[in-house]
């Protein structure tokens, strides 16, 4: 290693940043040079090749008013230090502080592209909110666990900036093992090379299962929510209906960029212009790569029955067809994101005053 030390910035709240207690929780951002409070212990763990050049401090209330915006503000303030690594907390069980640590880590990582490490207790709401965006080491509930938490954070951070990439990962990334470094998994799935073929593993485990011995499934089946279908609508003639489909019918050129598989986006289009009564102009395409699109390309009303609904509106059997068509590409999308998209669409559907939706799939 050359003599240039790696530069670190550390985030703390008003309490750990030695500004004050709850009465100072409205304090805005302050930058101080060098380590402070827990930073002093962190500096010890990091060793002589790494230097905490600055501490960023903010009051918990100030931060929690708008965590996204506060994160941006804080990230801008430390840009000039050109840090190689960023720490926040640990926040232990403190909810506002945990959210602040997560949000600042997310903003710094997105803005500066450097590794970001924090620590929280498992029930801190910041864990679920920010586990995707930051390495969150598992910490205890309170400051009593300060030194062990800082040790974990430091060990993980040093691996991220100086460690060798894992030889097992097919991707060749430097992605430390969550179990080894005791951080909350970041919702990433990766292929690993291992010692045993799938064939050997499956037969070993199957023999254990047959003979009543303990065995470990490589996937623990989830418990899915049971969604009760709502009661039928008695009178359709007064309501406004919208169409939703996961068949990925989109305008030509796929402007929203729905992915053919593993898609995470949804989009809306105005039916009037997108699908007039005779969509013979073929100004549409199918972004989905999981079904034969031939029949839908011939006639998109086979996927979303616009023609039939328009007729039923004319016959006054349905009140109105809302002009907004909700479209997504439902092919190997993770179920959690499907739920999120459903909620997002639901909010928009409510906002638009739509009474009912017809969902068609492929």
């Amino acid at each position: 290693m050359n003599n240039t030390k790696l530069k670190v910035v550390h985030y703390l709240n008003q309490f750990f940043g030695q500004i004050g207690g709850e009465d100072k929780a409205n304090t805005g951002f302050v930058v101080k040079e060098g380590p402070l409070g827990p930073g002093t212990a962190l500096q010890k763990e990091l060793g002589e090749h790494v230097e905490i050049v600055a501490t960023l401090i903010c009051g918990d209330n100030y931060f929690s008013k708008d965590p996204d915006q506060a994160g941006e503000e804080g990230a801008k303030l430390i840009e000039s230090f050109a840090p190689d690594l960023f720490f926040a907390g640990p926040a232990f069980e403190a909810g506002r502080y945990g959210v602040a640590c997560g949000a600042i880590c997310k903003a710094v990582n997105e803005r500066l592209g450097i590794p970001v490490v924090t620590g929280m207790y498992q029930e801190n709401p910041g864990v679920e909110m920010y586990r995707k965006y930051a390495y969150i080491c598992r910490s205890g509930q309170s400051t009593r666990d300060m030194v062990p938490s800082l040790k974990k954070m430091s060990k993980l951070a040093l691996q991220l900036v100086l460690g060798e990439p894992s030889k097992n990962l097919l991707s060749g990334e430097n992605l430390p093992k969550p179990e080894m470094f005791d951080y909350f998994k970041r919702l990433i799935i990766r292929n690993e090379f291992c010692d045993q073929s799938a064939a050997k593993r499956s037969i070993d485990k199957l023999l254990a299962k047959i003979t009543g011995k303990p065995f470990e499934s490589e996937v623990v089946p989830p418990v899915f929510d049971n969604v009760e279908p709502p009661a039928p609508i008695a009178d359709l003639s007064k309501l406004q209906l919208a169409l939703v489909s996961d068949g990925a019918l989109v305008p030509k050129g796929n402007p929203a960029g729905l992915a053919g598989r593993g898609n995470l986006k949804w989009t809306t289009n105005e039916l009037d212009s997108f699908l007039p009564d005779d969509p013979g102009t073929k100004e549409y395409e199918i972004a989905h790569t999981g079904y034969f699109p031939v029949n839908v390309l011939e006639n998109p009303f086979r996927l979303i029955p616009v023609d039939v609904i328009r007729q039923l509106v004319k016959e006054k059997k349905i009140g109105k067809l809302h002009n907004t068509f909700f479209s997504t590409s439902g092919n190997a999308t993770v179920s959690r994101r499907c739920t999120e998209m459903g909620n997002e669409m639901g909010e928009e559907i409510k906002r638009l005053g739509i009474d009912a939706v017809l969902l068609t799939s492929t």
Binding site: L170, I189, N191, E192, C194, S197, P221, G260, G262
Partner: protein, 429 residues
């Protein structure tokens, strides 16, 4: 049924005047091989390329990877139904070359997905085939031949070349002989060992290019196939070949079938290998149910298995379909191990399951085949050129000669193996 596979280790491959193997070096007479393959009137011309380990070469428009093999002492018995005459595969002697494959490409393809093979860089590091030498058979269509018809010809050209090359090695010293001998009709009923069967999801029609079947079983379309019992040797010895431009199962993979080889290895030691039921993923609910109950019945009441390993074809629909068979097996008291392939790299593993069945409590991750890899540009491209399109699920266009390409691993031959042969597991990070 007894099959002996006699293997010769090939050290390198070169072009030369007479096709044959001497001291582990394979020589190929290009003209002779091209002449053989263009006997098929659907093929206008064939170009042979050799690809060696350590080269910065990318093979594109790849349809299949085949281990050179031929039957010894049996006439027209190689890949029956495809190359040889119809007869049951899996008995007698087979000569097999190791460390070399035949790559069948279709440079004129209009498919969205074709496989590729990088001999270098991250793609090469992941693929077992980058360590091998390859005889690449690039076939070009005769005029007025339907595209799918030509694809069949190009695939068969790969199988023919594999048999031709293996045959040229007859008389060479054998490095290893493996015996696959399973007398299913006389299995030891008194054994205390658990009886384990294998359910082989042979095919799924959702990948059919232009909606036309890709024949993979004794030369025929298996889409209407009812679940049926086959001898495992039929699979190892050319009765089954690759389909759908690789997608984690090519002919080489089937010839070296992961689960079948492992069940053989352990037969009589800690289990009794009670046989293979094969079936096809079905698109329609009633047909699917019929297949599920018939397959489970064969596993339980004909093969008498205590447990069954179930493997799948690439994709989401086969995943759902396989779970249906497994559920029926569990209902009959047969313990199952179900293979899945996570279809996305974002989330938790349980979210990757496309079924919800309490009884299916042993799930094996055969590889997150849609994991993306960034591959740097090659120096040489075989089977196409730098303008050959390479598929990416994002709405972007990319070509084989680009500085980098973004590829899902199922399109890179030799990484994942849906028959269970690869030492790959999927983990949460």
């Amino acid at each position: 049924m007894r099959l002996e596979i006699e293997s010769i280790d090939i050290k390198s491959v070169r072009e030369g005047g007479r096709t044959g193997v001497k001291d582990g070096v394979l020589t190929v007479n290009f003209t002779e091989l091209e002449t053989l393959l263009t006997e098929d009137s659907r093929i206008a011309s064939v170009k042979i390329d050799l690809v060696h380990p350590g080269e910065r070469t990318r093979v594109v428009n790849l349809m299949d990877v085949v281990q050179p093999r031929c039957k010894i002492g049996q006439l027209e018995a190689d890949f029956p139904g495809f190359v040889g005459k119809l007869q049951i595969a899996g008995k007698g002697r087979t000569l097999s070359l190791r460390g070399v494959t035949v790559l069948a490409t279709n440079p004129g393809t209009t498919r969205k997905y074709s496989a590729l093979l990088d001999m270098y860089g991250p793609g090469g590091q992941m693929s077992r085939y980058s360590k091998f030498s390859h005889v690449c058979v690039n076939s070009y269509s005769a005029e007025d031949i339907d595209e799918r018809e030509f694809e069949n010809a190009a695939k068969i050209a790969g199988l023919k070349a594999a048999a031709y090359i293996a045959r040229s090695a007859e008389g060479h010293q054998i490095d290893e002989t493996e015996v696959f001998d399973l007398d299913i009709t006389n299995l030891d009923g008194k054994s205390d060992l658990p009886k384990v069967a294998y359910y082989y999801q042979l095919y799924s029609p959702q990948h059919d290019h232009q909606g036309i079947s890709d024949d993979c079983f004794y030369g025929t379309d298996v889409r209407p196939l009812m679940p049926t019992i086959i001898h495992p040797n039929e699979v190892l010895d050319g009765g089954v070949v690759g389909a759908h431009t690789v997608r984690s199962i090519d002919t080489y993979t089937i010839q070296n079938h992961g689960v079948i080889r492992e069940l053989y290895r352990r037969h009589g030691k800690d289990l009794i290998f009670s046989g293979v039921v094969c079936g096809v993923a079905k698109m329609e609910p009633i047909t699917r149910t019929r297949k599920n109950i018939m397959a489970a019945n064969l596993v339980k009441n004909v093969l008498g298995a205590d447990g069954v390993v179930l493997t799948k074809i690439h994709g989401g629909m086969p995943h759902v379909d396989l779970a249906g068979v497994a559920e029926e097996c569990e209902k009959l008291g047969v313990k199952t191990a179900v293979y899945i392939q996570p279809l996305i790299s974002d989330g938790r593993l349980p979210e990757m399951l496309l079924f919800s069945a309490e009884a299916l409590d042993l799930i094996i991750t055969v590889g997150a085949t849609l994991e993306r890899s960034i591959l740097p540009a090659p120096d040489r491209i075989v089977g196409g050129d730098k303008k050959t399109k390479v598929y990416c699920p994002d709405p972007i266009m990319q070509y084989a000669g680009d500085t980098t390409i973004d590829v899902e691993q199922f399109l890179i031959a030799g990484i994942h193996d849906h028959t269970g042969g690869a030492k790959v597991v999927v983990k949460e990070y």
